[in-house]
């Protein structure tokens, strides 16, 4: 399985996302913001960082990068896409996910090891977890406060699209403690904390982040098995 990791100017955690995908067992393809070709990848990670220096708004310019035009179309067609931190912001700017990430309520950048509860295991990126599982992964952002109007929030809750919530403290003031959400189809997930920083005992607070990457491999394996069974060429 080939996972593409996009590098925008100002991407910072792109190498870490690539390492995490590799540790999970994927072949990693580095994608360049200026190249619209996805090089046949089966899934895409939009990594953390400050694409284009967070000019205008976080993610506002990255959303118009040539590679994003292809990714937006492919995501609407079912391509699994995980946006981490700045990637989550880009997915919101691209309207692949509802709502927005705003300045942390306390106005500081905050980096801490954060407990989350996995609320939805129905997505391409969380099927390896059990519902209600508590995981520990680092959070680090300055603009990670998730906001949406009440109707959107109610809809996310009702449709089981809140993927993970902060527990034992909300690090940024996100509404309803939301840490991660998904789209209606469950192939696009945006998450503020950083699963790619919790994949090795040596460097992370846990190995819990690995589950996001093994999940997509499992989803892809299932999809390709299904496709083969249906007689289609993948």
């Amino acid at each position: 399985m080939r996972i593409g990791v996009v590098t925008f100017p100002g991407s910072l955690d792109d190498g870490d996302a690539a390492r995490a995908a590799r540790i999970a067992g994927a072949d990693v393809v580095r994608l360049w913001h200026g190249d619209p070709d996805l090089h046949g990848v089966d899934a895409v990670v939009l990594p953390g960082g400050f694409s284009y220096g967070d000019a205008l708004r976080c993610g506002a310019i990255a959303r118009f990068a040539p590679v994003m035009e292809t990714i937006i179309d492919a995501a609407r067609g079912g391509l699994p896409v995980l946006g981490i931190c700045n990637g989550f912001q880009i997915l919101c700017e691209a309207h692949l996910l509802p709502g927005a990430l705003t300045r942390n309520q306390h106005l500081h950048f905050r980096n801490r090891d954060q407990f989350l509860r996995v609320e939805s295991t129905g997505t391409a990126w969380t099927n390896s977890f059990t519902a209600g599982q508590e995981i520990l992964i680092p959070v680090k952002n300055g603009e990670g406060c998730y906001v949406a109007d009440e109707r959107t929030l109610d809809q996310l809750e009702a449709e089981g699209r809140v993927v993970a919530r902060y527990i034992r403290g909300n690090p940024n003031g996100s509404q309803r403690d939301i840490a991660a959400i998904t789209n209606e189809a469950g192939n696009v997930v945006g998450i503020m904390p950083h699963p790619e920083h919790a994949v090795e005992a040596l460097t992370g607070p846990s190995l819990d982040g690995l589950g996001f990457f093994t999940s997509v491999l499992r989803a892809l394996a299932g999809a390709s098995a299904g496709a083969n069974a249906g007689g289609h060429q993948s």
């Binding site: 100017p9 100002g10 870490d16 220096g53 000019a55 106005l107 950048f109 980096n111 040596l202």
Partner: protein, 870 residues
């Protein structure tokens, strides 16, 4: 006459072009003379020709900080009066800031005394020290100060401090991989601290986080001595393949000089340079704030483009532009090669078209590098810059030395006017050198006689318990998460240990696990009591902090923060500190790889405590064997606890004396570097053998502090019994004797560990063991539940700087959430307080003229230590 290279300009073409940069691709970036109004003297640039024809014209050399004899020497070197641009360049390069004229005579000891070793690839005089750690890999590291700008404008001052040191690392050919920040502020509860601290922390975080560099350690120290003179030191470390080491020499006649990175603006003119103190014109309204403004996004692009250029072998020489801007970069690269240089100044891409040649040469705009490239590589270089969306402009070329063997000349024109024609070495290397008078401070003998060992002490268990709680809540010993949570410590995925651990530990090679450990330490109070012993104290502590992780300490760097060199007492402290560090490196057998001097950290006649900050680098063959500071979770029997080293009655200069008595007097604890070295060797052995599950260096606050910290790290309790050796429980808990480490040893390893300590001749005292129950119990004295300790430890900074209510909520303590002393909306509330405090503080705490040096120019010396043979 040389041939003019084709003007080549690469505009940024990111899809992008964020508002940070939107140059029009391919457009000629120079500007015509007719576009420009030049106010220097009477309407035109002051040229060499004009200087020859008006030899007696009065020049503002005094206003620029040059003494009469220095000015006379410039005239002598040039055989005429300097042009306005030349005068500015000499004033910059001969300033304390760049020339090290007061410190040079002392810093020579680092080259003369300290061992150079076989590992050191670049040392003093280079942009950063470079040390080889394996056959293929080297690391570059250096620490630098950005003190004065950070006081004037905390956010940008601190941010550009990070940016500057990162470019130093980059200039050596290394990929920067981490930063650390030793910070010192005035009293924690002083209003001006509430002004500068949040801004400095946010600036360091804002720049470093955006660059994608983990912040892995540092210091946060509060002391009234730094009121009005906060110290913002920044360390960066980078890694490079040995063969990628870069040089600053502008070698190769005919090679092209390329300016890469941000466009040049008026920002930073007169920041740390003496130019600030004098103006050429009446156009004060043109002046921008003198602190540089950072753009970390541009720096990130600059890093990526430089690394791509190095890997493609496209760079013949490189130098970063920091303080003193183009002036420094052009003269140092040319002087280092003994070559000449021809520069067309109008080609420099500008933010403001009306800048004069002098302003262009003096600008300290950030995020710029000067490259020397061969003509055939120019196209490729511009291509890489274009890929990353960074400006790259050919502004000149390398010219030959004189036919008689004399060094080449630096010839700078601006729209066909020759504004500079000088021997570059006269600027870079031949600055004045002063052996300033030194004299021991008159009050020192009295201070040393006033020992802390005679102060009243707590005696009963209850008193000791109360003292422990008071100490761990004191600003210097309390939890620093309020600060460090604003830094990204995870990015790049190689951070093995970060603050609050004793050292930052980074993995460098993912396959072998090879890595490094780094610690920076200083102790201004100890240095005030005795600058020689206090400097050794800092060296010993940094060395020990690296050693306790199991790393092998191999190299040292420094950042020397002092008051005015014109004060003989300060100069004596400086001389003692340098002597101590040079002697110390000699004794430890480790090279001093570089350093930085920051003078004039003083307000009025009151200098800061002498504050030498020492950085020590250690290496790991495999970081998997690193030893953390926190006791591991207890399953079954706890780990055995031992104290390595000897505890003496040494309380002078201690945190206890300061916190409980506001006392500073006596002499610092003794330092035995031989013992420190044996301790380091022993810790490395213990780490290899897996004998140690946790180790924590004893320093500020003594044993009490490390017990609490090691317990709180993973919420693991401990039962200890203090040695019954005639010294009181108080001395055991709060003495700050050096050379000591608290050690946790897994069951089954204790015999081997004790034998190992004996082999190295290190006292190893059993203290007790760790416990699952979250309580710190000191037998016969007191019992302290960790929840209570945590509340004291974690509450202090949020109470001072905002966030107390949130912390209370995390702890599920609604009573504290409603604490009337904590603003209801803590951070917003605090912003208002800070803003209000700032106004008042700026008036009361702004630096006053110090010994005739205008506050604006109180020079921050932040250039590489010059060659000792210069």
């Amino acid at each position: 006459m040389t041939t003019q290279p084709d003007t080549a300009t690469s505009g940024a073409v990111a899809p992008s072009a964020g508002p940070n940069q939107s140059p029009s691709a391919g457009k000629q970036t120079g500007f015509a003379a007719t576009d420009v109004l030049v106010n220097e003297f009477d309407g035109g640039p002051d040229t060499v020709q004009r200087a020859l024809s008006t030899p007696e014209e009065l020049q503002p050399h005094t206003e620029l900080g040059l003494k009469d004899d220095e000015y006379d020497r410039i005239r002598q070197i040039l055989g005429r009066r300097p042009t306005a641009s030349e005068l500015a360049m000499y004033s910059i390069m001969w300033s304390e800031h760049c020339s090290y004229k007061s410190s040079k005579v002392h810093l020579r000891q680092f080259g003369e005394k300290t061992p150079q070793g076989t590992r050191m690839l670049a040392g003093i005089g280079e942009n950063a020290g470079v040390v080889q750690i394996s056959d293929e890999v080297a690391v570059a590291f250096k620490v630098e100060s950005h003190n004065h700008p950070s006081f004037v404008e905390p956010y940008q001052g601190a941010a550009t401090g990070v940016g500057g040191i990162v470019r130093d690392i980059l200039a050596m050919g290394a990929r920067p991989i981490a930063v650390m920040d030793p910070l010192r502020f005035g009293a924690a509860d002083h209003p001006d601290t509430a002004r500068v601290l949040p801004g400095i922390v946010a600036g360091i975080g804002g720049y470093g986080n955006c660059l994608g560099l983990p912040n892995i350690g540092g210091e946060i120290v509060f002391d009234p001595t730094y009121q009005g003179n906060p110290l913002v030191n920044a360390l960066s470390i980078g890694v490079l393949p040995v063969e990628r080491l870069q040089h600053k020499e502008a070698a190769g006649v005919g090679n092209i000089v390329v300016l890469l990175g941000a466009r040049t603006g008026r920002d930073g003119i007169g920041g740390v340079s003496v130019l600030a103190s004098a103006t050429f014109d009446e156009g004060a309204e043109q002046r921008r704030p003198s602190v540089q403004v950072g753009d970390p996004f541009m720096e990130k692009l600059l890093i990526e483009s430089c690394l791509e250029l190095y890997d493609a072998g496209l760079v013949a020489g490189i130098q970063d532009l920091g303080g003193a801007g183009l002036t420094c970069a052009l003269t140092e690269t040319a002087a280092a090669a003994g070559a000449g240089m021809r520069v067309w100044l109008e080609r420099v891409p500008l933010r403001e078209a009306s800048m004069s040649p002098t302003e262009i040469l003096a600008s300290e705009s950030q995020e710029r590098m000067l490259l020397i490239v061969t003509p055939e590589n120019l196209e490729a270089v511009l291509g890489v810059a274009e890929k990353w969306g960074v400006w790259a402009t050919a502004i000149g070329e390398v010219t030959p030395a004189g036919e008689d063997g004399s060094p080449g000349r630096l010839l700078i024109t601006w729209n066909d006017h020759v504004v500079v024609d000088v021997p570059p070495g006269s600027l870079a290397d031949d600055g004045p050198v002063y052996a300033r008078p030194i004299r021991e401070p008159a009050d020192l003998i009295l201070i040393q006689a006033d020992k802390a060992e005679t102060l009243p002490r707590p005696a009963t268990g209850d008193e000791l318990r109360a003292t422990v709680l008071r100490m761990i809540a004191s600003p210097n010993l309390c939890d620093k998460s309020w600060v460090t949570e604003q830094y990204d410590r995870y990015v790049l995925g190689n951070t093995v240990l970060a603050q609050p651990e004793d050292s930052g530990v980074l993995r460098i090679d993912e396959r072998s696990g090879a890595g490094v450990a780094l610690s920076v330490d200083g102790n201004g109070r100890m240095a005030r009591l005795d600058p020689y012993e206090g400097s050794r104290f800092a060296l010993a502590e940094a060395y020990r902090n690296v050693a306790v992780t199991g790393a092998d300490p191999i190299a040292v760097t420094n950042c020397l923060n002092f008051g005015s060199p014109e004060d003989p007492a300060v100069m004596w402290q400086f001389a003692e500190a340098v002597r101590a560090l040079a002697d110390g490196c000699l004794e430890l057998g480790t090279p001093m790889t570089g350093g930085n001097v920051s003078f004039y950290n003083q307000t009025g006649a009151a200098a800061i405590h002498p504050t030498p900050v020492v950085g020590v680098l250690g290496v790991f063959d495999d970081v998997a064997r690193r030893i953390p500071m926190g006791f591991p979770a207890v399953t079954g029997e706890g780990d055995r606890l031992f104290l390595l080293g000897d505890t003496e009655v040494e309380l002078s200069g201690s945190e206890w004396a300061w916190v409980t008595h506001g006392h500073l007097g006596g002499r610092p604890p003794k330092v035995d570097l031989g013992h420190e070295q044996r301790l380091a060797q022993m810790m490395a052995r213990a780490s290899h053998a897996g004998h140690v599950s946790a180790a924590h260096d004893l320093s500020d606050g003594g044993l009490s502090q490390v017990l609490v910290e090691s317990c709180l790290r993973r919420n693991v309790g401990a039962k200890v019994a203090l040695p019954d050796d005639g010294k009181s429980a108080f001395v055991h808990l709060f003495s700050e004797s050096t050379g000591r480490v608290l050690i946790a040893v897994p069951r089954g390893h204790d015999k081997a560990f004790v034998a190992l300590a004996a082999e190295y001749g290190i006292t190893c005292t059993p203290l007790g063991s760790t416990t699952a129950e979250p309580v710190l119990e000191v037998r016969d004295q007191f019992s302290l539940p960790l929840d209570e300790a945590r509340e004291a430890f974690e509450g202090t900074l949020p109470r001072l700087f905002g966030g107390a209510a949130e912390l209370a909520n995390r702890h599920g303590d609604p009573e504290h959430a409603a604490d009337p002393t904590a603003p209801a909306s803590p951070d917003r509330g605090n912003q208002v307080l800070i803003a209000a405090a700032a106004g008042a503080a700026m008036e009361s705490a702004a630096p006053i003229e110090a010994d005739g040096i205008p506050a604006a120019s109180v020079a921050e010396v932040k250039e590489p230590v010059p060659d000792e043979d210069a």
